[in-house]
């Protein structure tokens, strides 16, 4: 099948590629079906794209690459809902807010998107703690 996206060209995908977010994502509650693909111009990033709305594609990054020692405790209810059986099935990504000013590019460490890559199920977790920020700078001056 083909997905014509607004910003990321035309994407080929098949049924097995579809990740189902049964509860949607905050802000996009009505959208349940997404695909992911690496960003062509920079494959440190990936896009989580709705197949139901050609405009909705979120930029994602691996939080583990941004913050050393990043950790997420996935609640039992999520493990159940996402049918997670082993840690190898789990992919954790965080959303990226771009800015033309590189120092202002941030990622939301407080709300990781948890994906079971085997069962193709996803859900966004909100961590209610001060440990991680909603706007964590991606680049902290000295590196990059």
């Amino acid at each position: 099948m083909e997905l014509v996206t607004k910003y990321h060209g035309v994407r080929e995908y098949s049924d097995e590629d579809i990740i189902v977010f049964k509860k949607g994502l905050p802000g996009f509650k009505e959208l349940k079906k997404f695909i992911t693909f690496p960003l062509e111009s920079n494959n440190a990033f990936s896009i989580l794209h709705s197949i139901e709305d050609m405009e909705v594609g979120l930029v994602l990054v691996s939080p583990f690459a941004i913050v050393k020692g990043y950790e997420v405790k996935i609640p039992d209810t999520y493990i159940k809902e996402l049918e997670i059986k082993s840690h190898e099935e789990v992919l954790v990504l965080t959303t990226v807010t771009l800015s033309s000013n590189i120092e202002n590019i941030t990622t939301n460490l407080k709300a990781p998107i948890i994906i079971n890559i085997k069962e193709k199920l996803g859900e966004q977790l909100i961590i209610d703690s001060d440990k991680y920020k909603i706007k964590e700078p991606l680049f902290k001056g000295d590196n990059n």
């Binding site: 910003y7 990321h8 994502l25 905050p26 802000g27 996009f28 960003l39 111009s41 920079n42 440190a44 990033f45 405009e55 909705v56 594609g57 979120l58 930029v59 994602l60 609640p75 039992d76 209810t77 959303t95 990226v96 807010t97 771009l98 800015s99 033309s100 590189i102 590019i105 939301n108 407080k110 709300a111 966004q124 909100i126 209610d128 909603i134 706007k135 990059n144």
Partner: protein
Amino acid sequence: MLVIGRRKGESLLIGEDVEITIIKIENGSVKIAINAPKEVSILRKELYKEVTDENQRAMIFDASTLEKLKK
């Protein structure tokens, strides 16, 4: 919407599993205790709103910005 008055120490039940008790009322702020099953998610609304806003910002895509990041 149901609007209900409660005093300190009083509770209310939502469905069969959720109990909300008013613990303390002081200077325009109220402390409440919630007893609910684990699968019921409880979030401060402003936090949920912040995540909603941030998700919406994450779909603003500017390819030229990412081009700049290329090493």
